[in-house]
């Protein structure tokens, strides 16, 4: 009799605990559902807001594009100006031949010797000079003045000399090349 009473009491206690646990689970479930529901609601709302924002920005972009389309003529002219300036810079900065040295050099040679040809080509770093001198004195005088010219223009350096004496006339033919370093 006593043991059955104990069993009954234990069973009732277990039943009470289980009921309590069950209630706790139900409450937690409701809370969890509410939290998840709220979270889902917030997510959906935020997605909706972002969608609306995207649509409104898209409309604003379309509107701005139409405005820009209205200025297409000015834009094309502006871009053309910019392109032409950019290419003009490229053209202006292309290396040229050293005519600013060739001309005074030619002028210098006229006093002592007879110049056959003074030549310079783009892409080469030298100017060539060929001619003839009446006698050895004028040739030496000319070479002295060439050295002075080279000292004056530090970029100029004599890199080649060739001389030959004409048997018939006794004239001295010469061919000289100057290197142009480009740093003056």
């Amino acid at each position: 009799m006593k043991s059955s009473i104990n069993l009954l009491q234990e069973a009732q206690q277990i039943q009470a605990r289980l009921r309590k646990f069950g209630l706790l689970l139900q409450t937690a479930s409701i809370v969890t559902l509410a939290i998840f529901g709220g979270f889902v609601f917030l997510l959906l709302s935020y997605t909706l807001i972002l969608n609306r924002q995207q649509n409104s920005i898209g409309e604003a972009i379309d509107e701005q594009k139409q405005i820009v389309e209205g200025f297409r003529s000015a834009e094309s002219k502006y871009l053309l100006v910019k392109q032409k300036l950019s290419l003009s810079r490229k053209a202006v900065s292309e290396p040229s031949i050293p005519y600013d040295l060739l001309i005074p050099l030619y002028e210098l040679t006229q006093t002592q010797v007879t110049v056959g040809e003074a030549k310079s080509e783009r892409g080469q770093t030298f100017v060539g000079l060929s001619g003839q001198a009446e006698d050895v004195f004028s040739l030496v005088q000319f070479l002295d003045s060439l050295d002075a010219f080279a000292r004056e223009h530090q970029a100029v350096r004599v890199i080649g000399k060739g001389f030959s004496r004409s048997g018939g006339t006794g004239e001295y033919r010469f061919e000289i090349a100057f290197e142009i370093s480009g740093e003056q």
């Binding site: 059955s4 972009i61 000015a74 100006v81 032409k84 003009s88 490229k90 002028e107 310079s120």
Partner: protein
């Protein structure tokens, strides 16, 4: 000893507790379904949308800046600049304006220009060249890059001519040649005493053989996208424009009231 359970504590009453488990199980199922079907895709979508909105905002700001900038452009002034630049760097092989400029410069410095030669070069139209035709299956991007490269290229027309005159005149002509409109660059220069080529010339006269490249830039075939940003002219570009504007230009002047003949040949004198 009696081990029977009383009426209140039967198995049914214990199992009745399972009713408390329905809601938690349902909750777990709902949570799992929400996580898989709603929350995870939405978080991804939100992340994507945020990126798109950010990009769209940047694009909008760029477009607003562009439209404001374009609205502030003084179009008549821009047209003047373009006209001037067209004379500096023409869109085609403008041999006529080159001849006019060379003639004007020669007249200014008292030298004679002759033996003018030019090499026509390749035909500019893309359809004329077989290599320009796109091959089947050729990537479009490569074609666009090639097109963009061609647009950005600076073309040249090689020209050669002879000069005869005094040394001073020729040297002044040469010194001013690269400050002319249209832009050109000396390729070769050969100065020879005039008597070396012609015995009849006077001793102080020289002749020069000049080779130069005339620069020109073909017009772009397409304009950029509407949304592409526009970069204002830099100070260095404006300085360059001012400098280029000082280059000499010569024009053909045609008298407006040129009397060619009588309007009525039968009218009495």
């Amino acid at each position: 000893m009696n081990l029977e359970l009383p009426q209140d504590v039967n198995i049914k009453s214990v199992l009745a507790i399972r009713k408390y488990l329905y809601l938690p199980v349902l909750t777990v199922m709902v949570v799992v379904v929400l996580l898989i079907a709603v929350i995870t895709p939405n978080i991804r979508k939100i992340s994507q949308l945020r990126k798109e909105v950010k990009l769209a905002k940047e694009q909008l700001v760029g477009l607003e800046e562009k439209s404001n900038f374009l609205a502030s452009i003084d179009e008549p002034n821009l047209q003047d600049q373009l006209t001037n630049l067209e004379r500096i760097l023409p869109a085609n092989k403008d041999v006529f304006s080159l001849l006019v400029s060379l003639n004007g410069l020669a007249v200014d410095h008292g030298v004679a220009v002759g033996n003018f030669k030019t090499v026509p070069g390749s035909i500019a139209t893309e359809s004329a060249t077989a290599s320009a035709r796109p091959e089947e299956g050729e990537p479009v991007v490569a074609q666009r890059q090639e097109s963009a490269r061609k647009q950005a290229d600076l073309d040249t027309l090689d020209v050669s001519f002879d000069l005869v005159g005094t040394f001073e005149g020729i040297s002044n002509f040469i010194l001013n040649l690269e400050r002319l409109k249209p832009l050109m660059k000396l390729n070769t220069l050969s100065i020879v005493p005039a008597k070396a080529r012609s015995d009849t010339s006077t001793a102080d006269r020289v002749s020069a053989k000049v080779g130069l490249s005339l620069f020109y830039a073909p017009l772009p075939e397409q304009l950029g996208a509407v949304g592409s940003p526009i970069i204002p002219l830099a100070d260095s570009e404006l300085t360059l424009y001012d400098e280029l504007s000082t280059y000499s230009a010569y024009e053909i002047t045609v008298p407006t009231s040129l009397q060619i003949g009588r309007e009525d040949p039968f009218a009495p004198f």
